[in-house]
């Protein structure tokens, strides 16, 4: 598979997790100073910071598994768009506040279910990162789920708009649970999570929150996105061009 670039399945598995955290942290970072109120600005910025910290741990781990001496910075700043293995959900633009919070909620609920299982991974470093990150992601989920309820059960306009956000984002959630060869291999090796169980837990969380928010769960659509195989939409390239600009202009730059 081209996106694997000769890496082991184990390395690709960790890199996928790292990239989803990194890209979402970058997206949320775009909102610093632009959120609708100070409290939400702080909330989204702090969530971005946690996700970036988790991404750094995961990228460092992926770099070691890769065994080519690449650091977290090398992996973050010197890969091309097609080498990024994040889910397409996280590269979606911030849009309006409903788009941002719906994306965050769908992601947080997935991450909590995933980390709960990865905390028992046979890869001790991945298990340690997941156990640590789980505490942070539970807090993120409380924030994003509360906002989905406030927007869904808010005014007629906020209800309609956040429902439209869910409809737009829904097709991008499919790949989170669609186990491919790498997911299956990692599950069999005792390293990865059982995505069938992750999906069941995620659906429970999503259904509970949407019911409280008086929102409807969108219908499943036939098309599929596979960011985790390096197949991205139009948005990731622009995000990376901004994220990587400084490092590409000044290779090896450090703070």
């Amino acid at each position: 598979m081209s996106a694997a670039h000769g890496r082991t399945s184990h390395c690709v598995y960790v890199l996928r997790l790292a990239d989803s955290n990194l890209v979402l942290a970058q997206r949320l970072g775009e909102l610093i100073g632009h959120a609708p109120a100070l409290e939400e600005d702080l909330g989204l910025a702090n969530t971005a910071l946690d996700l970036l910290g988790q991404a750094r741990l995961l990228l460092t781990h992926a770099g070691k598994l890769e065994g080519r001496g690449r650091s977290e910075d090398d992996l973050a700043f010197l890969r091309e768009e097609g080498e990024f293995l994040n889910a397409t959900l996280v590269e979606q633009p911030n849009g309006d506040f409903g788009d941002t919070l719906a994306r965050q909620f769908l992601f947080d609920a997935w991450q909590v279910e995933l980390y709960e299982r990865l905390a028992a991974s046979g890869d001790p470093q991945l298990a340690a990162i997941a156990a640590k990150a789980l505490k942070e992601s539970r807090y993120h989920l409380r924030f994003s789920a509360n906002w989905v309820v406030r927007l869904g059960d808010g005014t007629a306009e906020s209800h309609e708009r956040v429902q439209a956000s869910l409809e737009r984002l829904w097709p991008h959630t499919v790949e989170l649970f669609d186990a491919d060869a790498i997911d299956r291999e990692m599950l069999a090796a005792g390293i990865g999570a059982d995505l069938t169980a992750v999906r069941a837990g995620w659906q429970r969380r999503v259904d509970d929150t949407l019911a409280e928010a008086t929102l409807a769960r969108p219908a499943d659509r036939p098309w599929r996105w596979y960011g985790k195989r390096g197949q991205h939409g139009e948005h990731l390239g622009r995000l990376l061009s901004q994220m990587q600009a400084l490092h590409r202009a000044h290779p090896g730059a450090r703070w």
Partner: protein
């Protein structure tokens, strides 16, 4: 030649004096960040530290401050290692640390009702789940009307 035990004890005393960069009334020992101190052959020191929040910018500053404090104490070979497991918990903040937080105006972590650190009232409301640093949430006292930070439970 000092015994390893004496060296370890000296290192721990020096670590107890390294302040947290964000909340300088607390030392890294108060925060429960020091996992281990190992004295190697030839006097090399290894310090194991728990990071707090994954993305907390203070983590790299703490690491540099620990190295500097031990080098000032005459330890030439200092290695700081990150210990992820088990994950750091606010339960590891010492009793003294909790008192210092309270006296500094930050409500210490609690799963029960959050008391105002200014007037002690339990009539408080949460203004924001997130505050000025990853570890804090923003509260207000509805008795004395002062806003204050609450150190979140992790």
């Amino acid at each position: 030649m000092h015994s390893r035990r004496a060296i370890e004890s000296d290192v721990r005393q020096r670590l107890a004096a390294v302040p947290d960069p964000e909340i300088p009334v607390l030392s890294i020992a108060d925060l429960g960040l020091v996992r281990h101190v190992r004295v190697g052959d030839g006097g090399a020191i290894e310090v194991g530290l728990s990071p707090t929040y994954s993305g907390c910018p203070a983590t790299s500053v703490i690491r540099a401050n620990v190295e500097a404090a031990l080098q000032q104490g005459g330890y030439r070979e200092v290695n700081v290692v990150e210990v992820l497991a088990p994950p750091w918990s606010t339960d590891w903040i010492s009793t003294a640390g909790r008192r210092k937080l309270h006296d500094y105006g930050i409500a210490p972590p609690t799963t029960g009702p959050v008391a105002c650190p200014q007037c002690g009232s339990l009539a408080t409301t949460k203004l924001s789940e997130f505050g000025s640093t990853p570890c804090k949430a923003l509260y207000r006292c509805t008795d004395c009307l002062e806003p204050f930070d609450h150190f979140k439970c992790l």
